[in-house]
């Protein structure tokens, strides 16, 4: 009996103490930021997750009153579920989202926005652009144009090239159209283009077949660094590395390293930074805590990375 009384008194103390802690913390956790991104399924999304985690730690250290909830989803419907949880369980004040698919997530993000949450959309725009309060993205068509301009100047407006595309998605379409419109008025001939699904193995096999099919190739536009790695390997196997050069895209550290070394096969890379998630998280935090005007669109440019400026884009700790 005695023991029981004692333990219930103890329990009461714990409750009171717990309540005090809770009450004291209430005002300090002023704002919650929800971040929803696709899971790390390939190099670029791996980099995205790395930068998101890093930014979360940094911001939470910097602003003790800020809580960040980071969730990853491996498909569109999982991401829609995540949004419901962020809203009802974590009661977020702002959302940073890189949608898995534009169309499928437009409805779920609209629901979040209707409940008064500040919405920042990253990279893949929603079908209805009036939903987001703020939009951060890379510029896919510029990426295509920058690559095309480099190839144009290296080949002196004339030559034979092959293109390895990603997957049939909006991102790939925009890159491809940007590229094609820039070489329209030149003598550059696209021998063929094939999908390489943004991975090394397909980059390797597709390039092997291009090499057996075309006796003369002056340049390869791989538009992605994972694909470029496979392409480089195939060119080396065929011992044709003196004949052509490869332009990838993204900013993978292995490729940047080659550019830095002045490798003739990969003279440049075109940036499409997974770090754009950090930009979105930082600016949304400023909106939440300082209420500074953050509105409209923030479009990152896709600069050409060359031997001279490669150091600025080299992150040895990133998995990408």
């Amino acid at each position: 009996m005695k023991h029981r009384v004692k333990s219930s008194a103890r329990l009461e103390q714990i409750f009171v103490f717990g309540f005090l802690v809770w009450a004291l913390q209430m005002p300090s956790f002023a704002q919650t930021l929800g971040v929803s991104v696709p899971a790390a399924t390939h190099g670029w999304t791996g980099g995205l997750n790395f930068h998101a985690e890093e930014t979360k730690d940094r911001l939470e250290n910097q602003y003790p009153e800020l809580k960040i909830v980071l969730v990853t989803a491996s498909n569109a419907s999982e991401q829609a579920n995540d949004l419901e949880d962020l809203l009802t369980i974590h009661q977020i004040d702002a959302l940073v989202i890189l949608p898995f698919e534009s169309a499928a997530l437009t409805g779920p993000v609209r629901n979040v926005e209707r409940s008064g949450v500040f919405v920042t959309v990253v990279d893949r725009g929603l079908t209805d652009p009036s939903i987001h309060d703020f939009y951060v993205a890379g510029n896919n068509s510029e990426m295509g144009r920058v690559s095309a301009n480099y190839i144009k100047s290296r080949l002196d407006q004339d030559g034979k090239i092959v293109i390895l595309r990603g997957m049939p998605t909006v991102i790939d379409e925009q890159r491809f159209d940007g590229f094609m419109s820039s070489i329209d008025d030149t003598g550059i001939e696209v021998l063929d283009s094939q999908y390489a699904n943004w991975n090394r193995d397909d980059g390797f096999t597709v390039m092997q077949d291009f090499l057996s099919r075309f006796p003369k190739i002056d340049a390869v536009w791989a538009q992605d660094d994972d694909i470029a790695i496979g392409v480089i390997q195939a060119i080396r196997q065929a011992r044709r590395q003196d004949e052509m050069f490869v332009v990838g895209g993204g900013g993978m550290k292995d490729i940047i390293q080659r550019v830095k070394r002045g490798d003739k096969l990969t003279p440049v890379d075109v940036l499409y930074p997974p770090g754009m998630i950090s930009t979105a998280m930082e600016l949304t935090t400023i909106k939440l805590l300082a209420d500074a005007p953050i509105e409209g669109e923030y479009i990152l440019s896709s600069p050409l990375i060359t031997e001279q400026n490669a150091d600025d884009y080299y992150f040895p700790d990133s998995p990408f």
């Binding site: 057996s212 099919r213 065929a238």
Partner: protein, 323 residues
């Protein structure tokens, strides 16, 4: 082998037709470089599919092979990079990694086998589970990025994929010798006959005093062994592994087995048919890359059509030969 198995000429007729299509599409198809590429490329799926022939003949299925290959690749790369700190001889490092790979493949097969037999869980569910586990593990090990083999090791190891003996790349030698061994094991040994028996009717096999559980576990272990061999020749190609490695290999391997004339319901297996099936699948991809007659968006549709046509040809021939 063609003469020995009159019934199984179907897949080879289909293979010849797809081959002729290649010749017709582009003259570069017949260049020795392209033919070597096709054979070397098909060896991954081919070797995995030879293993799948055993599991499917025993009436099982293994969906975990693709992620298993990715996981073993990742472990091999991490192991070699770690050994590089302490051991100087690169050939010793590679040997250790090769043995570790085989051990892991056999163990993974044993786990799948024990779960299906001793724990009595459907092979489909067991391997669906292990498929998810291995896939996540490799993504976790790579931090969502890519694991890369150290350059000094890969300089030596890459010879396993890129060098050749008598003009034929090493992966092709490995593929065909393994298929030869598998053929003997399946068609000329008691184990092979028991395998057919278990696949046809497990109950009858059990009443005939066959240790059906042991046979099934062995089938899964052969599959694991084949996956590890495929991995050993896959890693030196690009010297890297990621969450993307081996995606959908399981479906390609199963497709190769079925195109080759093995019954999906078990009880009958054809190793050389599987080899033909794997070659057909690789040829289709190669031919589509060699032509721009087909819109990129329709590649999948053409692949599907050719696979279905190959099975139709294969079965018609089977029926004629049997009647």
């Amino acid at each position: 082998m063609l003469i020995l198995n009159l019934k199984s000429t179907g897949p080879f007729i289909a293979l010849c037709l797809v081959f002729l299509l290649g010749v017709f599409v582009n003259e570069a198809f017949l260049s020795s470089g392209n033919l070597a590429n096709i054979l070397a490329r098909s060896s991954f799926i081919g070797i995995v599919a030879v293993g799948a022939t055993f599991v499917i003949t025993a009436g099982g299925i293994d969906l975990s092979v693709g992620s298993m290959a990715a996981f073993i690749s990742g472990c091999m790369i991490l192991l070699m990079n770690a050994l590089h700190q302490s051991i100087n001889s690169i050939s010793i490092i590679i040997c250790v990694a090769v043995f570790a790979s085989i051990a892991m493949g056999l163990l993974a097969g044993l786990i799948n086998g024990l779960l299906t037999t001793k724990a009595r869980i459907e092979a489909f569910i067991v391997t669906l589970g292990t498929m998810g586990i291995y896939r996540s593990l490799v993504t976790f090990m790579a931090d969502g990025g890519t694991l890369s083999l150290s350059f000094t090791i890969n300089d030596v190891y890459s010879n396993v994929y890129y060098s050749d003996f008598l003009g034929i790349p090493y992966p092709v030698w490995v593929f065909f010798s393994l298929a030869g061994l598998a053929f003997v094991l399946m068609n000329k040994t008691i184990f092979g006959r028991h395998l057919f028996a278990v696949g046809s009717s497990e109950k009858v096999a059990l009443y005939s005093a066959i240790d059906t559980e042991k046979i099934k576990i062995f089938a899964f272990m052969i599959q694991g062994f084949c996956v590890s061999i495929a991995t050993i020749i896959y890693v030196p190609r690009l010297g890297s592994a990621s969450g993307q490695t081996g995606v959908l290999w399981e479906l390609e391997a199963i497709a190769a087995v079925i195109i080759g004339g093995t019954a999906l319901k078990g009880g009958y297996g054809r190793v050389w048919g599987t080899v033909a099936g794997a070659l057909i699948l690789t040829l289709i991809g190669n031919i589509l890359n060699l032509t721009d007659m087909v819109s990129n968006y329709l590649n999948g549709a053409v692949q599907g059509l050719i696979v279905i046509a190959a099975v139709v040809i294969q079965q018609r021939n089977g029926v004629q030969a049997e009647s």
